[in-house]
Symmetry: C2
Subunit: 438 residues, 2 copies
């Protein structure tokens, strides 16, 4: 690929500290930082630098005017992971799958390794405590920011997780960007069937080379959760802004509710599963979760990708619904207003959609609470138009679920039935009072 050729030409190695002059549309920019490992899944046209302020920047190779090496990478530690961290008898085994995101953004630079993000050295340096809790098997699967996560990658992660769990790992931790972590958690919740071991997604809001980083504590807590008596998909992130404890949120009920706070992840319409202190204490906050079992997990990965989320707003035009129908979309999740409404002049388009076999699901942009299409006449008209009311499901969860459901059937009756069946805690029978804005 272009980037590898470029690096070879210039004698650049991963880990080199360089100064680069870039020219784009007549503008010249200068960057100083460490050359990172070219992402396997990228187009191969970009050189990635870890800037001195800790952030990554991708520079199109074609726009690089000049490269100057300030300091060569330190020669690589040649010790094998197993030599540095020999398995300790008696400890559970936890695999850590790297997918990228901020949590991996220190760990994957300055080393020289090909799969840089989770070398033993980096993990140990960053969070040595986890080796006291479990025998760790690190595996770098992707190295992307989670805004670039895609349904097909969810499937890859699911298979990786299943393979590891069925091959002796006692739990899996998935390091993931926070932007779309909740979508991935939902996808894994639906795809991993007969799951009997913990599958924990973890990320961080501040990269680990910043003093205020939440990466270390989140990782420790997630490894602890991955060794616990628990058999579901959960997100583990800071429970408060200070480093007190983490919360585990059910994969289908979690949402990133703040752009930058460390305690941004919240359970919506549900209480969290557990509080996890980095020291090891785990306090389950409820009883209705699956315990660890020896069942063999399998991946039910049929996903229909022609699905979209549409937000309703005053002034929305019916042509927007029509567009998706015309383009062959098979499913639409509407974020309605209030109990699940849209302007009534849009209902005809929705009716046409359902008549043409498109599954139209209703959620609420309020996020908290439950859709109810029986209260107002707008709702009843939507029901008559064939809309599926998604109870207290988050719009994001309903979206992922609808992709998964449509991967299995396109029979409208079955789609409705499956959407209203609780597969992974995504529907609660009633909304607890103490879950609002918590």
């Amino acid at each position: 690929r272009k980037v590898e050729r470029f690096m070879k030409e210039k004698g650049l190695e991963v880990g080199d500290h360089v100064r680069i002059i870039e020219k784009e549309n007549g503008n010249t920019s200068v960057y100083e930082g460490v050359v990172m490992n070219p992402y396997e899944l990228s187009s191969g046209e970009t050189l990635t630098l870890k800037l001195d302020n800790g952030y990554n920047v991708g520079i199109l190779v074609d726009q690089i005017l000049e490269v100057e090496v300030i300091e060569k990478a330190a020669p690589r530690e040649e010790l094998e992971f197993e030599e540095v961290f020999p398995k300790k008898p008696g400890l559970p085994s936890v695999a850590i799958i790297g997918t990228g995101g901020t949590i991996a953004s220190r760990i994957d630079y300055k080393t020289g390794a090909v799969h840089a993000a989770f070398t033993a050295e980096e993990l140990a340096k960053a969070v040595p405590e986890i080796f006291e809790v479990a025998n760790i098997t690190p595996k770098l699967l992707f190295n992307i920011m989670s805004e670039d996560m895609r349904p097909e990658y969810w499937v890859k992660i699911a298979h990786e997780v299943a393979g590891m769990l069925n091959n002796g790992e006692d739990g899996v931790v998935i390091a993931h960007g926070t932007d779309t972590m909740a979508y991935t958690a939902s996808a894994l919740s639906f795809m991993l069937r007969d799951l009997g071991k913990p599958v924990i997604l973890v990320g961080s809001q501040r990269s680990s080379d910043r003093p205020s980083s939440d990466a270390a504590m989140n990782l420790i807590c997630s490894v602890r959760m991955a060794t616990s008596d628990f058999g579901e998909v959960a997100i583990v992130m800071h429970g408060e802004t200070s480093d007190t404890y983490c919360l585990a949120h059910r994969g289908t009920k979690a949402r990133k509710m703040h752009t930058s706070r460390r305690d941004a992840f919240r359970s919506i319409n549900d209480i969290p599963l557990a509080r996890i202190w980095p020291g090891g204490r785990i306090e389950f906050l409820r009883d209705d979760y699956r315990r660890r079992t020896e069942s063999e997990v399998w991946v039910d990965d049929e996903m229909e990708e022609k699905v979209a989320i549409i937000k309703a707003f005053p002034g929305i035009q019916p042509e927007i619904i029509d567009f998706f129908v015309d383009r062959g979309y098979k499913g639409l999740v509407i974020e309605g207003t209030g109990l699940g409404h849209v302007p009534t002049y849009v209902i005809d388009s929705i009716k046409r959609a359902t008549e043409e076999g498109v599954a139209v699901c209703m959620t609420s942009q309020c996020l908290y609470g439950r859709v109810n299409l029986n209260v107002y006449s707008t709702g009843r008209r939507l029901l008559k138009a064939g809309v599926i009311p998604c109870e207290d499901m988050l719009p994001e969860t309903a979206y992922v679920k609808l992709m998964w459901v449509l991967g299995h059937t396109d029979d409208p009756k079955e789609v409705r039935e499956m959407m209203l069946t609780n597969y992974a805690g995504e529907i609660t029978p009633y909304t607890r009072f103490d879950t609002f804005l918590r």
Copy 2:
């Protein structure tokens, strides 16, 4: 119109208690309820019944098989409003503008009046306390559920409000459905220029004929707020689920955060303006609000309606952006992930949009927190593609603001400048720590 002809034919009057048999697609339904006043703005094909359980249902006249009058409407009180509630000297004047929604859903039935929602009798019966607080001028402007509110109605409301304030009213209360109340509040915040008196939106989550209704207390508190030393647009709704106090939220910073709770409205990225007890005490929670002035308000009502909100999600296709550009949309508000991101493969479409003169604004689906496109490379690429980062503005507020801004200019530089100018409290200089999930 059809409905009036039908009522005449059958000898039906508003207020009659009837039993109706409806046939639709072979299904027969029976409804019992009170005939309501046909909405002026409806298509005129539907007969609206207030069911005995308090909800409204619209029945297509063409599908009515049978009508039976169970009890005729009580003969109308012929007293004039002014006779029943003579103006009391010394009290401030407050106009109450009815637009519909649940808060009006008891008030507009059983009377026989054409503008039924706010007859003196109904108001008095429902909330006699308000006549102790102010001399009330009721005015029914619309009678729609707020999911049917449209930008052109915002303009009508704005002119009505301005007319009233410039003609001696000391404040205006707008009774409004809760679904899209926050959008309307934003619109009024931008359109009412040089506002120096309170403009208070109020609604209810439970219709006033249900014992748990929040209508009465919300109305009392909103009238109190409308007589206070305040000169902005605010939403006044329950502050807690019990009937303790109401909160006033700045019109550009409020959001309906729950489908059904009485305290669903919350200030986002901001603290509320005031606590209002029904007994009359008003506690302002901050100092940075406009006080009452004698300035003449005017309506700056230029709005560009070709604007849409797009939510980003994993798997979103660039064709969605292209669609809006191809259809001649002038502005797009994206609800990005995290700090304001989209999948990077969508950025080319966004760039094309901005190159063709479409204003593309970035907000966050986290809702809480602030967009920052300088942290990650995805964000920086979005900036280079011409995206306008909307600080801590709510997506809904950014949408309304963008319509308003584009009503004034289509020069990209001016659009950016105006979007980043704080006109009505929609941008806070920094996000207070104590505003998350409150």
